[in-house]
Symmetry: C2
Subunit: 248 residues, 2 copies
């Protein structure tokens, strides 16, 4: 692989840093974080402001992400073929299961949510498209890890609830189970009271390119801790349908 352009890489690093927290960052902070002189950073920031990728708070002088990025991000959704093909099936899945439906892909060690259908008759939810879920503590993530051809580098297994699988060995046996069953469950391992189910979506060559699943209250999906298998078949049906659609 060849060389890359320094200033563009640095610009990307700045954007990632600005996106890493809701806080606005100043030139000095960025300079310290990236180990670069202030003047250098200022030049890149000035350019990023001009193209709308970054905005500067007129009061404090600090920098934050710009609105153009929101538009670029939503344009990505139009381009993404998996999402385009899967949208209708996700709607159907949400309708049948009466729970929220989710589609995700593996991205930089996280599950990137590329589609999210709200639970029917419950509109007071915030949309999660574009956010990350942890791979080890979500059903989507387990599916994606289990079928990951590259054996993704595991980030530290951060615990979220008392049920989170935080031990690498345990996670590996769980992934083995996912591979043999062909679907994954997550029982209050990310949020207390919430349960999720997911299954893999494959492309025409049989490679797993994403996962689809549902997520909802434990009382509905798994009363007394036992999953209702009908939900599992809803999810697997949807996953198979999309896979078939992609093969066409």
């Amino acid at each position: 692989m060849g060389e890359t352009i320094q200033s563009v890489e640095r610009a990307a690093a700045i954007l990632r840093l600005l996106a890493s927290g809701p806080r606005q960052l100043g030139v000095a902070e960025l300079a310290r974080a990236l180990g670069l002189p202030k003047g250098t950073l200022h030049g890149i920031l000035r350019t990023l402001v001009r193209v709308g990728f970054v905005e500067q708070d007129p009061a404090t002088g600090k920098y934050r992400l710009g609105a153009t990025l929101l538009h670029l991000g939503s344009s990505y959704l139009d381009v993404n073929e998996l999402r385009t093909r899967a949208i209708n099936w996700a709607d159907a899945l949400a309708g049948r299961s009466r729970e929220s439906a989710w589609i995700g892909t593996l991205h930089e060690g996280h599950v990137l949510v590329i589609h999210h259908v709200f639970r029917p008759d419950d509109s007071m939810q915030t949309l999660q498209v574009g956010t990350y879920l942890p791979t080890h503590a979500s059903a989507l993530g387990k599916v994606l890890l289990a079928y990951d051809p590259y054996g993704e580098t595991l980030v530290p297994l951060q615990p979220h609830t008392k049920n989170t699988i935080a031990d690498p060995g345990l996670l590996e046996t769980e992934l083995e189970l996912v591979r043999t069953r062909g679907w994954a469950a997550e029982m209050e391992e990310l949020t207390e009271g919430e349960v999720a189910i997911a299954a893999p979506i494959k492309d025409s060559r049989g490679i797993v390119v994403g996962a689809i699943g549902i997520r909802g209250a434990v009382e509905r999906l798994a009363p007394e801790g036992v999953l209702h298998m009908e939900f599992v078949s809803y999810v697997r049906d949807a996953a198979r349908a999309i896979t078939r659609d992609l093969a066409r």
Copy 2:
């Protein structure tokens, strides 16, 4: 204003071009569009691929937007203060009016949708956050134009339906009306059968920083072509509440 960094500006231009249509673009196409040598573009593209802003189709070699941008875009939503403050009020507005609620800002001659609450009891809608609405053919846009301190350069007034205001003079009198009334309506000017209402959101200095509104079927919001004024007050109440909130 000082100089800007060439390569970063070019990288941004590439991203904008890739976002302008759902089609994937090749090096040669980009080179022609931007008037740059192929080699130069390839270098920038290679870098953009490395940082995840762009993906390359392994089959065709063509380029498309990358998943990292989706994540950056959603991070913008966390940073955006207007949206953070307005979310709850938008939920309330959607609940009271039983229609979909929208929040938008002026951005590069368009209305950028920064929040969107689905109509209650109707989840089969696609989320429009991050997309553009035309300024002259949407209620949000009319509000933003009417109160725009910079007198935004008007893009050509493209007609969408037979009701679209396509004449600059007529639009100006309409904006005058918006300024005197303090709110805007849009009667099937963007989509047949749909009507919208919007009102301005101001910051602590009284400058309009966004607009909030609702949108729905003409039968419900304006039967026989006459707006139900209760909807107007819902919208204006929400706008005033957010304005008050921002002043705090």
